[in-house]
């Protein structure tokens, strides 16, 4: 065999060392992440208070909300054209305007918002109508066992069991952080399911339908848990 001799095999394998060094740094990062996370959040909280540029919002795990939508564009709705329909297995199907919802008895829930993607917004106040009150208003028939939520973005959907839906910390929310919910945050009306991950809190809520069994929602058909209970360390805000 007249193979070409391997060029320069005598030097130090620095390329390999660079690669292994990066792998080591990655492993160390994973090991240290739980500790880094807390310090990082504290640093960002401090930094974002003095940051007028908003650049801290680009950093990993910035405090605050991130915008998620599963469609290309979402229509804007306000007092003039918003309607929430409540139907399915109920005695009295309802359609609520925004003003009608605002006139109903309101409940305030303060709880951590936790996304499965690792960001969290601590002690966020939501205000709105208890889902349980709306269900009582329409009268759930005995066959009703679950709720399906649909949204005016035309694609998103969510689900809860009837038992979950009747919890006192599940709201049809009208305000967030004491301000009307903006379009980017799912306004004018969104669901807020405080004890679960935030994907269960459907944005741009437009339809509530009582069903005889749970119909998996948008992300749930794509592998997410149907019961989105906060687990482990994420439940730390439960005292609220």
């Amino acid at each position: 065999m007249a193979d070409k001799p391997k060029p320069r095999t005598e030097g130090a394998p620095v390329g390999r060392r660079a690669m292994l060094g990066m792998l080591g740094a990655g492993a160390a990062g994973l090991a240290a992440a739980p500790y880094l996370q807390k310090g990082w959040e504290n640093f960002l909280a401090a930094a974002s208070e003095v940051d007028a540029t908003g650049l801290t919002g680009l950093l990993p795990n910035p405090g605050g909300f991130r915008y998620y939508s599963v469609v290309g564009s979402v229509p804007h709705k306000d007092e003039t054209n918003y309607a929430l329909t409540l139907g399915g297995l109920v005695d009295r199907p309802r359609t609520y305007t925004l003003d009608q919802l605002r006139a109903m008895p309101r409940t305030r829930v303060v709880h951590d918002v936790v996304c499965t993607d690792g960001w969290r917004v601590e002690k966020t106040p939501f205000d709105g109508v208890r889902l349980a009150d709306l269900l009582d208003d329409a009268g759930v028939r005995s066959k009703g066992a679950a709720i399906r939520f649909t949204c005016f973005d035309g694609a998103y959907s969510e689900s809860l069991t009837l038992e979950q839906a009747r919890r006192s910390d599940v709201l049809v929310a009208l305000t967030m952080q004491d301000k009307p919910i903006t379009h980017a945050h799912g306004g004018p009306v969104r669901l807020y399911v405080a004890p679960m991950y935030f994907y269960k809190s459907a944005k741009w809520l437009s339809g509530i339908s009582v069903t005889d069994k749970v119909v998996p929602g948008y992300w749930e058909e794509r592998g997410y848990a149907v019961d989105g209970w906060l687990d482990g360390a994420d439940r730390q805000g439960d005292a609220a």
Binding site: P7, R8, G15, A18, L30, L58, R66, A184
Partner: protein, 233 residues
């Protein structure tokens, strides 16, 4: 200057001067590996931006589509590399990228002292910066794949929380973004280097100026190979 892309394949030693003073730097297989890897990396970074940056996310939406494209462009990122391993020229260049010669340390010293003249920065086929970049980006892509898979398949390794995987994935994503931008900037500053990656050939004068030890080493290698040939016959 006319392109030599698609010219006759190298039959003799790869770096023997070919027509018009141009010499072969990369084989077709190597350029395909680079091109496909580049496109996949671009796809990864663009979809990451659409998922991660608020204004872009609001503009683009379509989260499930972006997630799917991001996951698959990420998971297939090493495929061109693995296929490239079938090519002897690619394997030979990996060996060159891996090994540091004495003059590579001189190159790094020149960078630290901000000496930019090619004479102060001796290099073989690849300079020390290219060697470090290649090794680092290989490790970084593997870490991104690992943390990405942890996010994709929740509960794959229960002792690593999804939040931890996301933190490492996010921080390293920014590092990769800036390093790849640096890589692109270097390429834009050097048209002949880009031509080499596009056509496979570079001018002899460019090679002598920016990779002075490359041709010398090849000649020494050829001489050694010839000696082996003679012994074999």
């Amino acid at each position: 200057m006319r392109s030599t892309a698609g010219s006759t394949g190298p039959t003799g030693r790869v770096t023997r001067p070919e027509r018009e003073g141009r010499i072969r730097r990369f084989s077709t297989a190597e350029r395909m590996v680079h091109r496909v890897t580049g496109y996949l990396m671009l796809l990864c970074l663009v979809t990451a931006a659409c998922l991660y940056l608020g204004p872009l996310a609001q503009l683009v939406g379509r989260r499930h589509l972006m997630v799917t494209v991001h996951e698959w462009s990420g998971i297939t990122l090493p495929v061109p590399f693995l296929l490239g391993l079938l090519s002897p020229a690619f394997r030979a260049d990996l060996r060159r990228l891996n090994r540091f010669a004495v003059y590579d340390r001189q190159w790094l010293r020149a960078v630290r002292r901000r000496r930019t003249s090619p004479e102060a920065r001796p290099a073989g086929k690849f300079n020390a910066g290219q060697k470090l970049y290649a090794g680092w980006i290989a490790g970084a892509v593997l870490v991104m794949m690992f943390t990405g898979l942890l996010m994709w398949f929740m509960g794959l390794l229960p002792f690593i929380s999804r939040t931890s995987a996301i933190l490492v994935h996010d921080i390293l994503a920014w590092a990769i973004t800036f390093v790849v931008l640096g890589h692109l900037r270097k390429a834009f500053e050097d048209p002949e280097a880009r031509l080499g990656m596009r056509t496979g050939h570079v001018s002899l004068s460019w090679a002598q100026r920016h990779h002075s030890r490359w041709l010398r080493e090849e000649r020494e290698g050829d001489a050694a190979a010839d000696a082996v040939d003679r012994r074999m016959t």
